[in-house]
Structures are given as C-alpha cells and as structure tokens.
C-alpha cells in the first residue's frame, strides 16, 4: 500500500502505466458516456460562445450554427476536468507552479535553447496554439479526439494524422533546433 502511494507521488510515471490509465479512461468514455475523448472540439464550442458576444453577425454562420454550436458541451466539461486532473497530478508530486516564478516560462530545456525571455516563449506558444487548433479543425480532431479516440476504434484517419504529425514535428524540430537537434 505504501509503495502504491509512493508511486502515485512520483513526478513521472512509466509511460506504460500512465498510458494504460488513459486507455481505461478511453474505454469508460465509450462505455459509460457513449462519447469519445477529445479536446480541440471544446475550444470550438467556447470560441463560438465568445464570438457570439463580440461579433454575433460574423459568427452567425453555417459552422457555428450547425457543425460546432456554441455551448457548454460534454467536451467542455471534459476539458475542465482535464484542467483539474493536471492540477491533481502536480499536487500529488508537489510540483504545482501556481504563484511560482518558474510558472511564466516553465521548461528548463526551452530556456537553455531559446533563453530566459518570457515574451519569446509566449509568442511562440501563442502562434503554435493557433496553428494546432486550426490544424485539428482540418484533420477532424487533435491528439486526443483523433489520434487516441480514432486510433482505438481503428479509424484510418487516426493513423494518417499521426503519420503527418510526426513527419512535420520532426522537420520542425530540426529547423528550430538546427545543430542542437
């Protein structure tokens, strides 16, 4: 029992143990909720809600009316749960960053490659996030909703997406790390 508690408290688990846990969550999602895990769709629902407030005429289109209607959907609840799941995970290992200086630029490797500047990290992360969400729209989902959820159903879409993601991820890392790759 004590060794189990100690394992839970570890900062990092074996990826096999953590992966098996996610696998079980994926099964339960289909079994209990008849739903697939996902993340990018929830941002579409939320963006529709924000859009209705700031530019209702523009957001009154086919996409936000029929394809991804605004609202607090099942996926949004899942996303909120993920937020607290990350919090819980970090709390058990004592690695929460709330209120700490390192919260602004959270990764040592990033700093050693690109420097300490917070603005640089935030600009690249912001651009990266826009690209990620747009790409998830085109592909039909993200790493959660397409790669994991589609993959577990053996949808070819998932494996095409994973192949594309690794190919361009490797090339992009080569370009930005250059000789430090």
């Amino acid at each position: 029992m004590k060794s189990i508690i100690n394992y839970i408290r570890r900062d990092e688990w074996s990826p096999y143990v953590a992966g098996a846990l996610l696998g079980v969550v994926g099964i339960l999602s289909v079994w209990i909720s008849d739903s697939l895990l996902g993340a990018s769709g929830a941002f579409e629902n939320l963006a529709g809600m924000v859009g209705d407030h700031i530019a209702p005429a523009k957001f009154d289109n086919l996409y936000f009316n029929y394809i991804m209607p605004p609202g607090i959907t099942w996926g949004v609840y899942l996303l909120v749960g993920m937020f607290f799941g990350g919090m819980l995970g970090a709390a058990t290992s004592g690695t929460l960053k709330w209120g700490k200086k390192s919260a602004f630029n959270s990764d040592e490797q990033w700093k050693s490659i690109f420097g300490e500047q917070v603005w640089k990290r935030w600009v690249l992360a912001f651009i990266g996030a826009i690209i990620l969400e747009y790409a998830a729209g085109i592909a039909g989902g993200c790493t959660s909703g397409l790669a994991i959820s589609g993959g577990m159903l053996l949808a070819p879409a998932a494996f095409l997406f994973i192949g594309g993601m690794f190919a361009s991820g490797i090339v992009t890392a080569l370009v930005i790390y250059r000789r430090r790759y």
Binding site: L22, G23, L36, L78, F84, L88, I130, A135, G140, S144
Partner: protein
C-alpha cells in the same frame, strides 16, 4: 447533469494521466520529435493497445456500439496532421496537454495556450466554408474502421497492433532505438 459529472471525472483522470506521463512538459513533447525521448510514443501506443482491446472486446460482446467514428478523408487527415506537428513542435503542447498543464499553474500554458486555441478555433470556424469542404471531399471514405472496411477479423487486427507495439517497445527499451541526448 449526471453525464456532465461523468465527463468531469473522466477528464480528471485524463489530465492526471497526461501529467504523470510527463506530457505536460515542453521538453517531453519536443524530444519525441528530436527522437531523444520516446515517452510520448510509448504513452500513446500503450493507451491505444489498452483501449482498442477494451472497446473491440465490448463490441464483440454486444455491450457497446461505437460512437461517431472520426471520418477518414485522406488528404485532410494528412494535411491537418502535417500542420498540427508544426504547432506541436513550436509550442510543446497539444490542446489536451495544454489544459492539464494550465491546471498545474503553468502560465505559459494557461494564457498564450488557451487564448491561442480560442483564436485558432474562431479563425477556423470563420473560414470553415472556404477550406473544409474542398479538402474533405478528396478521397473521402467516411466513418470507417480498418477491420470492417478491409473485411479482416477485428480481433486479429487488435492482436497485430498489440504485437507491433510490444515489438516497438522492445526495440526502444532493450535495443536502444533512439537518439542520444546532446542538449544539456
């Protein structure tokens, strides 16, 4: 209401697993693309083996029917994946790991990340009609799954995927199939 509680609880375990796998760290994501740390790959493939075994066993027993299967439209799935990889290597996260990392209190996840997703989602929704129909009509196969579409036994397909994953894990962990880290 109860379905929303279920979603919250599933989300907590999902985010917890991402945190424990280390996927809420920039370097874990980028290093899988540098091929120096393949934890992301091991995590994803383990999750796939476990979940596909479970859902196909339950479908075989008649306990579940699959929810809406993500559609296969070959060009769009690949092009989307190609663009997605660029964003992932730049930011070091994906939408799910960013949500979990935000909960940990990482402000470079919480602010530029979540804001970026909202902006990206808005731009996508506003340009959807110009972009999506033309890409998704290329080689559109609809909501198919490999065993049904290719008429092969689902159990053999799952077994094949599991054995392939185990072989890959063996190559990575025992044979040492990854690049050595050069960044200190």
């Amino acid at each position: 209401m109860s379905t929303h509680v279920t979603a919250l609880v599933l989300g907590v375990f999902f985010g917890f697993s991402l945190n424990k796998a280390g996927l809420t760290k920039y370097h874990k994501i980028v290093n899988v693309f540098r091929l120096t740390d393949l934890a992301v790959l091991k995590f994803m493939m383990t999750a796939l083996v476990v979940s596909m075994t479970g859902v196909y066993a339950m479908r075989g027993l008649g306990w579940v029917t699959f929810p809406h299967v993500p559609a296969t439209y070959i060009a769009g799935n690949i092009i989307g994946g190609l663009i997605f990889g660029v964003g992932m290597a730049l930011s070091g996260y994906c939408p799910g790991t960013c949500a979990a990392g935000s909960g940990e209190g990482k402000l470079d996840y919480l602010i530029p990340g979540l804001l970026g997703f909202l902006v990206g989602a808005g731009i996508y929704g506003l340009t959807y009609q110009k972009v999506f129909p033309s890409i998704s009509k290329i080689a559109n196969k609809g909501s198919i799954v490999i065993p049904d579409a290719w008429n092969i036994s689902p159990h053999l397909t799952v077994l094949f995927f599991a054995l392939m994953s185990l072989f890959l894990f063996y190559l990575i962990d025992r044979v040492g199939l990854h690049r050595k880290e050069s960044v200190s």
